[in-house]
């Protein structure tokens, strides 16, 4: 693959992951990602042309539930953990700038 991991790529990936990376951490993270992904290049040695991917180790039939109404958690119990809530709502900061005519 011989991919070069640079600061720009790390910032791109961080944005995809909704993570902010501090300027002082950027060089270290770039170096560490580069080392780790360089190590992973070892998989290049394998001939995988005719190999099926495995997403789950065991071929199991899922334990399906009966399609029936069951008691769940009381909604109030969930608001106790909310950082900012007026049940039945959770409050968040402004989603879009501006206002007025849409």
């Amino acid at each position: 693959m011989k991919l070069v991991i640079d600061r720009r790529l790390v910032l791109h990936v961080a944005a995809l992951a909704r993570l902010q990376v501090k300027e002082e951490d950027l060089d270290r993270l770039t170096r560490q990602m580069s080392e780790i992904l360089g190590y992973v290049d070892k998989l290049e040695e394998l001939d995988l042309a005719n190999v099926e991917p495995t997403s789950h180790a065991l071929e199991l039939l899922g334990a399906l539930q009966a399609d029936a109404v069951q008691a769940g958690l009381a909604p109030e119990a969930l608001f106790d953990n909310a950082p900012d809530a007026t049940p039945p709502f959770v409050r968040v900061p402004k989603v879009v700038e501006g206002g007025g005519d849409a």
């Binding site: 693959m1 990936v13 992951a17 909704r18 190590y39 950082p83 900061p93």
Partner: protein, 487 residues
């Protein structure tokens, strides 16, 4: 009388004979934790009143003749399980002051059997790490030598059992997080087959690899804990509808006729001579007791770390997308808008290792790189899994070291993530293949740190694993002792 020295089975016998109460056992456990955890930092939450209330309920149940072997026995739970009413933070700042509003199936089954949950134990943040040092709340110390890590990620559960705070504990194992700390702390730990125990109510790290399992000080105690938790659960569609056999009966079977495979790839490059010698010594004991030892090959062993450190971070990056500061957990203050709230909450809430894994995983799943990284790792996983399927055509179990070396010194490797990853080489293959793996002590290195023998079985072959482990325990030829932690 020092009840904290007792095993689960010894506690159960004493409780049923009326020689002790659960309240006394629980008070002894709490007293020992209070006296020694300042040195170990195994616990994140010690729930005194919560534990004593369960103990009193257990004593009533015992008096009523309605007890199971776990009724009244104090246990520790890793912080990445939800136990209703207790803090559950996965050892991360991002969970803020989260208190579990519901119960994991594994702990619900222990509680239904009457076990007393004493509190929550420390571990690497979101179970990502091999030394316990990535906990947002500081590292756990190894009871055998306080300068060393007890292993990870389930550092606190392992240390709490080795230090005799409690006779049993729960952990999770995604790449070795039960087996490696069991090895480094000199206790028994088993990661069961994927699907053997429900994952409902644990904080997801890598959903195709995560599995719940117990720690204990004897194989029989571990078998009892697994027995209590195993079995299909309608709340986890990946839990297996496979009957649960009698694991304690399996412990009594003896090693005659067992065919034990020893993978030659697990003894090469970088294995400490003390570890190799202790494991070879254990194999000789098993052979002497009637087992047959066969050399086998798992040819794709050298690709396990590379495949795992794409697959596990990829799944983690997806699972951890839910921590955004909206409905629960930590939320950054003074933010510009919603998008800023997400990114700042995640920056301030996640520690360095979790951040690295999210970045690696997001990269491996991102447009343009998916096939080259994630796709390849999944194909390599197929080859790794096939190695085991081939091996189990000729052997009943596989025995190997658990880790290339004994416990590391705290601070030694914390800034070298790749070296930390590579040290997982002997445990992660078992997660990639979804198999059961048990670890129990088989010796110490020249510095007095424990060494663990790993016993791997075929899928749903826990009986053979317990059979082998109990046979070795009987044949071991020395009494395993426990470390003293001075208050």
């Amino acid at each position: 009388m020092n009840s904290t020295d007792w095993t689960i089975h010894e506690m159960a016998d004493a409780l049923r004979a009326g020689r002790v109460t659960s309240r006394k056992l629980t008070e002894d456990a709490l007293a020992r934790i209070a006296a020694t955890d300042g040195k170990l930092h195994a616990w994140l939450t010690v729930a005194n009143d919560f534990a004593l209330a369960q103990a009193d309920a257990a004593d009533m149940r015992l008096a009523a003749g309605d007890a199971t072997p776990l009724t009244g026995v104090p246990l520790a739970i890793k912080d990445n399980f939800n136990v209703t009413g207790l803090p559950a933070r996965a050892a991360s700042k991002i969970l803020g002051n989260y208190v579990a509003p519901y119960e994991s199936t594994a702990t619900a089954r222990l509680r239904a059997a009457g076990a007393v949950l004493v509190g929550k134990t420390n571990h690497d943040e979101f179970a990502m790490g091999s030394s316990g040092e990535y906990s947002a709340f500081g590292p756990t110390h190894n009871p055998w030598n306080l300068d060393y890590s007890p292993g990870g990620s389930s550092s606190g559960s392992a240390a709490a059992v080795a230090a005799r705070h409690v006779p049993g504990a729960l952990g999770t194992d995604t790449g070795g997080s039960i087996r490696q700390p069991a090895s480094h702390s000199g206790i028994v730990g088993i990661k069961p087959t994927y699907g053997r125990i429900s994952r409902y109510g644990i904080f997801a790290f890598a959903s195709s690899l995560d599995q719940v399992g117990p720690f204990a000080r004897t194989t029989r105690d571990a078998a009892l804990l697994l027995q209590t938790m195993a079995g299909v659960d309608p709340r986890d569609a990946t839990s297996a509808p496979v009957p649960v056999p009698d694991y304690l009966a399996a412990c009594a079977r003896g090693p005659q006729g067992l065919r034990i495979g020893v993978p030659k790839e697990y003894f090469v490059e970088g294995i400490s001579p003390d570890v190799a010698a202790a494991v070879r010594g254990a194999l000789a004991k098993l052979e002497g007791a009637g087992a047959k030892i066969v050399e086998i090959s798992l040819p794709h062993t050298e690709y396990c770390v590379a495949a795992y450190y794409i697959i596990a971070p990829a799944e983690a990056s997806s699972n951890l997308a839910r921590y955004d500061g909206v409905r629960y957990g930590y939320r950054s203050r003074d933010v510009r808008d919603l998008s800023d709230m997400y990114t700042r909450s995640r920056l301030e809430g996640f520690g360095p290792e979790v951040t690295r894994r999210i970045l690696i995983g997001t990269f491996a799943l991102s447009s343009g790189y998916y096939d080259a990284y994630y796709g390849k790792a999944q194909k390599a996983r197929t080859l790794i899994r096939r190695d085991f399927l081939d091996a189990f055509r000729t052997v009943d179990v596989i025995c190997a070291p658990t880790a290339p070396e004994t416990a590391i010194k705290l601070g030694e490797r914390v800034d070298d993530p790749l070296a930390m990853y590579v040290s997982d080489i002997l445990t992660i293959s078992v997660n990639l293949a979804g198999l059961p793996g048990l670890v129990l002590p088989c010796g110490k290195d020249r510095g007095g740190l424990p060494i663990g023998l790993q016993i791997i079985g075929p899928a749903f072959g826990e009986e053979r694993v317990f059979q082998t482990a109990a046979a070795y325990e009987n044949a071991r030829g020395f009494d395993w002792t426990w470390p003293e932690v001075r208050p």
